[in-house]
């Protein structure tokens, strides 16, 4: 089966991470696994049988495979929660065994399902764990918590003193991500990070992770059993079969269009042209720019402007340029625009068309509001734009 594994090819293409066009420098570190084996006493087959893999700095690499394939074991060997039986793992060229376990783990973010926040600690204390272990002073920790809550889209003053049980599942998971990033580690390990939340929340959290990664450029290794999540989040995907044998290691585009073998093809599943919608991102298509208004603007003026533009609804932004609602003109009452009730379902500019379609279907506008970094408003995507894009793709395929 050696022709189906491609670690060599992968090591050659590590130079330029696909996300490097965004702002911010790569702060991640390269991870190299060399012939890593994990055997458990009393079991014939190795849980991980000789995994060799290079994870390029600043990329999101998804470990995906059926349950029991050794993906979580492989992940946990990187922060030494599980010690390999043999083989070496290097982070930024340094063997991970050259420092103590605890020293190592404080430099690696660790995010697991549901956030696994400590219920007896406030949000602030949860996030502050690793900085405290590293001996940061009080004011630096305080500032860092503010910065991180802002980064994951939670109002710091409102949430810092809450306990986990006062948060929704999605909010807990956001705090979990903030905690993993607390000490600005070059490497972040995630184990089924969004497995415990509902599909809509999951989609938002995935978008937020992509948005955060655009700013930070960490090296993120993420385990999932969900191929759609892998396609959406991964710069690269490692598809593993039993014993953590690499079936294919490549970009999502290649995995979808040229699966290495039947196993990969089966795993990726049918409907690959629909899945291709998971590859195209909102940023690939043209956005529409309907009338916008800020909270507090005069209703009369906004209405007039919208009519002039031929719009029947306006996108309302808050004072930081984040969309908060998309009311129809007839819903605008009173003198001033107020913050609309209910949560606006928006999509990130890096969302896949698949997710964007989901959001459009749940919106009465047949379209979705698009946001960029830190939830800044960018425009609106609608069905027409998506179908035009699909038609273009079909034409390209036909040629």
């Amino acid at each position: 089966m050696s022709d189906t594994t491609r670690p060599v090819e992968a090591t050659q293409t590590q130079a330029e991470p696909p996300g490097a066009s965004g702002p911010g420098e790569v702060s991640g570190a390269e991870i190299v696994l060399t012939d890593v084996v994990k055997r458990y006493a009393g079991q014939d087959a190795a849980a991980v049988g000789g995994l060799t893999l290079t994870i390029p700095a600043g990329e999101i690499v998804m470990f995906v495979g059926p349950s029991g394939c050794g993906k979580t074991t492989s992940l946990k060997m990187i922060n030494r929660l599980i010690e390999p039986t043999s083989g070496t793992i290097e982070i930024a060229g340094k063997d991970i065994r050259t420092q103590s376990e605890n020293q190592l783990r404080r430099q690696i973010g660790y995010v697991i399902q549901g956030g696994s926040l400590f219920p007896h600690m406030t949000v602030e204390k949860n996030i502050a764990i690793v900085p405290k272990l590293l001996g940061w002073d009080r004011s630096r920790i305080h500032d860092r918590v503010t910065e991180l809550l802002d980064l994951v889209g939670l109002d710091p003053e409102r949430y810092r003193n809450r306990h986990p049980r006062e948060l929704s599942g999605g909010q807990q998971q956001r705090v979990g991500v903030a905690r993993g990033l607390a000490a600005d580690p070059p490497v972040v390990l995630m184990d089924e990070p969004f497995g415990a939340v509902d599909p809509i929340t999951r989609q938002r959290l995935q978008d937020e992770l992509l948005s955060i990664q655009r700013e930070l450029h960490k090296t993120i290794v993420c385990v999932t059993h969900d191929i759609d999540e892998a396609i959406k989040l991964g710069d690269r995907i490692v598809i593993l079969r039993e014993g953590a044998e690499v079936a294919q290691y490549d970009t999502p585009e290649v995995v979808l269009s040229a699966p290495a073998d039947d196993f990969v093809a089966d795993f990726v599943g049918a409907g690959s042209s629909l899945k291709a919608l998971s590859l195209a991102r909102v940023e690939d298509i043209e956005l529409r720019h309907p009338t916008t208004a800020k909270v507090g603007d005069a209703v009369a003026k906004v209405t007039e402007q919208a009519r002039a533009n031929g719009d029947t609804a306006v996108v309302v932004l808050d004072d930081r340029g984040r969309p908060v609602g998309w009311p129809w003109l007839r819903q605008l009452r009173g003198d001033r625009i107020v913050r609309p009730e209910g949560e606006l379902i928006d999509v990130d500019i890096r969302s896949t068309l698949n997710d964007a379609l989901d959001s459009m279907l749940s919106s009465s506008h047949g379209a979705a509001v698009v946001t960029g970094e830190r939830d800044q408003y960018l425009g609106v995507v609608d069905f027409d734009a998506v179908t035009t894009h699909i038609r273009l793709l079909e034409e390209q395929r036909g040629e």
Partner: protein, 213 residues
């Protein structure tokens, strides 16, 4: 009855105070012992079952008999009382501490280790705070139990409300204030027990994190 109390008020107050103090010291010692033992037990597989059996058996030893057993070993009076009461107070706390420590979600422990906490830090900042409400419930049970045992312990050794019970018993019946002695002892012990329980509830309010209450 009123005259009886009035005539002896300073003596009653002193004995009540002694009784409360004995229980307080015994429970503090028992708590420390029980938590330390529980931490050891939960690290070694299979030991928790043994501990439960030992504690079940230990609680069946009649306290009167234990005082007798201790007499030749520990010579000083008040120390026997303390040892005897603490002996019984350990078991409910130990049982709860084991249950509490074992009840901490293993995912949380892995996540704590995954962030680079040492074993001691995990114990101090994660396991004990999460187990604390259960341990505290054990302390409340032990405190109530110790109130009665302290009364018996004081048979051998002086101060405490228990002396009144034995005085009452030896005088017998209504004659010579016998009943008065017994009633004062019972009421005194109940009042001390209620106050102690109230203080423990307050302690819980102050020390159990709002996030797990």
């Amino acid at each position: 009855m009123w005259n009886f109390i009035h005539d002896r008020r300073s003596e009653i107050a002193f004995n009540t105070y002694q009784h409360a103090l004995l229980v307080f010291y015994a429970v503090v010692i028992a708590t420390i012992l029980a938590v330390v033992i529980a931490v050891v037990i939960t690290r070694i597989r299979g030991l928790d079952v043994a501990a439960n059996q030992v504690s079940a058996i230990a609680l069946t030893i009649p306290s009167f008999a234990l005082v007798g057993l201790l007499l030749p070993v520990v010579h000083l009076g008040p120390t026997i009382g303390l040892v005897a009461v603490a002996f019984y107070a350990v078991w409910p706390i130990l049982r709860n501490a084991v249950v509490g420590l074992q009840g901490v979600d293993p995912i949380l422990l892995e996540s704590a280790r995954g962030m680079g906490m040492s074993e001691a830090t995990v114990l101090w900042r994660v396991r004990l705070p999460l187990a604390w409400p259960v341990i505290l419930a054990g302390i409340r049970i032990s405190t109530q139990m110790s109130m009665g045992i302290a009364a018996i312990a004081s048979y051998a050794l002086g101060p405490g409300l228990g002396t009144y019970i034995f005085t009452g018993l030896s005088k017998g019946g209504v004659a010579a204030n016998g009943l008065n002695y017994t009633v004062v002892a019972i009421v005194g012990i109940v009042v001390v027990a209620l106050i102690a329980d109230g203080l423990l509830v307050l302690l819980g309010r102050l020390t159990v994190s709002k996030g797990i209450r």
